[in-house]
Amino acid sequence: MATNSSLTSGALASGGQHHVTDIQRLASEGLTAYFGSAAAIRGITLGVPDRSVTAIIGPSGCGKSTFLRCLNRMHETIQGARVDGRVVLTARDGKALDIYAKSANPIAVRKHIGMVFQRPTPFPTMSIRDNVAAGLKVTANGASTPRRTDEIVERALRRAALWEEVKDRLRTSAVALSGGQQQRLCIARALATEPEVILLDEPTASLDPISTQRIEELLHELEGEMTIVVVTHNMQQAARVSSRTAFFLNGELIETAPTRQLFTSPSDSRTEAYITGRFG
């Protein structure tokens, strides 16, 4: 794969929206992630298809969240953590870029590959509007005028299916929102920078069933527009929202397949054992 290691702040254009089918928007190659000397994941090679939802499942401690955090250089923010191998992002302009190349800027990487965490993390001192706009300030295409910012905020909130609920109180504190709304706010914040990829780490783990359903609906709606990777404990959720599923165990990728196939006829006996609950 041809790579261009010139991923620096603002190097990736967010234009060129035409849909290229069957392309791997994001691909890890031989990815190994360490905490100190211990490898949490080993030699993971996994492609994430464009404009689809890929789910990662596996038991606690299997490395699925670590893997996710490697995909936008969040892993290295932990002291003593490091990564071997490559993660290649194919940008909208078709250029392939190794996000771990020396010249790659982690901040720019995270603009293109956004992340939403298990617990909603609104900035408590900021208003709803400022929470959504927070990511814009660190990006190159930043909002030049308050009016432009308002447009981006509205678009992001609409895409996150939150606009109708908050449009009359954009200047109020984000912490007054319910847990489900806060999580959609975090998704809106991730969407505001127009990333190619959005990573979600157990996005509904702390939400009630109705809020969970709304987030899952949202993933379906976003699927045609962007590439989504979701880590989930909940196998039924993986089955409902994703088109591909990857199963991790003990830091290794055991199997990846179209979701329907993985949940009806997995090819590896360990996948079978895990998803049918015959696993200690």
Binding site: Q236, T264, S265, E272, T276, G277, G280
Partner: protein, 231 residues
């Protein structure tokens, strides 16, 4: 793999899966014995045995309802995956096939009752007996293949269906000859044709069950030549 045992949360589910399997085995035993008894009634022209088949069919019907309800509850409450999912779906389908097997045994028994009333003895019985033996073996093997998740045996059962079909054609030709030679045999010959037709259907249902056994064992759908089309 270090440990491959059921976790606590799944233990109850796996017990229920086992219950479903036991009920399906009970149903297949009943359905198979109904076919045996119906054929026995035919060969011995024994109206009392035929009556016993008709009475016992209610038990098979009841088991179908029980299996269906248990399967639906497991699907709704446990969200089964992979082999468990394939097992439950197949068990529900097989229970419906076995219910039909019971109905065919009843049809044969009713023909026996009418044949007894006619009191005539035209005899393509060796052929019908052979058909019954083969259909019955197919049924038993299909269920064994399902219970043991033996895809190879199941595929072999599917291939045997053609033999029963050609025996059915043979019986038909023999009966037509009888009817042409002696129109007084028409009523009896028609009953025997119905018996043959019902046995042929039992073999078809055994084939359906064998196809479900392949699906359980291999995750592949082979019915309607689906596998050949996909390849």
């Amino acid at each position: 793999m270090s440990v491959l045992e059921a976790t606590t949360g799944y233990r109850h589910f796996h017990q229920q899966l086992d219950t479903l399997k036991q009920r399906l085995l009970a149903m297949s035993e009943r359905a198979e014995s109904l076919v045996d008894l119906a054929v026995d009634a035919l060969l011995s022209r024994d109206a009392a045995k035929a009556e016993a088949v008709i009475v016992a069919d209610a038990e098979v019907d009841q088991l179908e309802i029980e299996i269906e309800q248990l399967g639906i509850a497991l699907l709704a409450l446990q969200q089964p995956m992979a082999r468990d999912l394939r097992f439950i779906i197949s068990a529900i389908k097989i229970s419906s096939d076995l219910e039909r097997v019971g109905d065919h045994a009843v049809n044969i028994a009713q023909s026996v009752e009418r044949l007894s009333a006619l009191g005539q003895a035209i005899m393509p019985d060796p052929e019908i007996e052979e058909m019954a033996r083969r259909a019955r073996e197919m049924l038993g093997d299909a269920l064994d293949a399902f219970v043991r998740a033996d895809g190879a045996l199941a595929r072999e059962v599917c291939r045997r269906d053609d033999q029963v079909d050609s025996l059915h054609d043979g019986v038909f030709r023999i009966l037509v000859t009888h009817m042409m030679e002696n129109p007084h045999t028409i009523s009896a010959a028609m009953e025997l044709f119905l018996v043959s037709r019902n046995l042929e259907r039992v073999a078809d249902l055994a084939t359906n069950i064998a196809e479900d056994a392949v699906y359980l064992a291999e995750g592949k759908q082979i019915k309607h030549h689906n596998e050949e089309r996909a390849s």
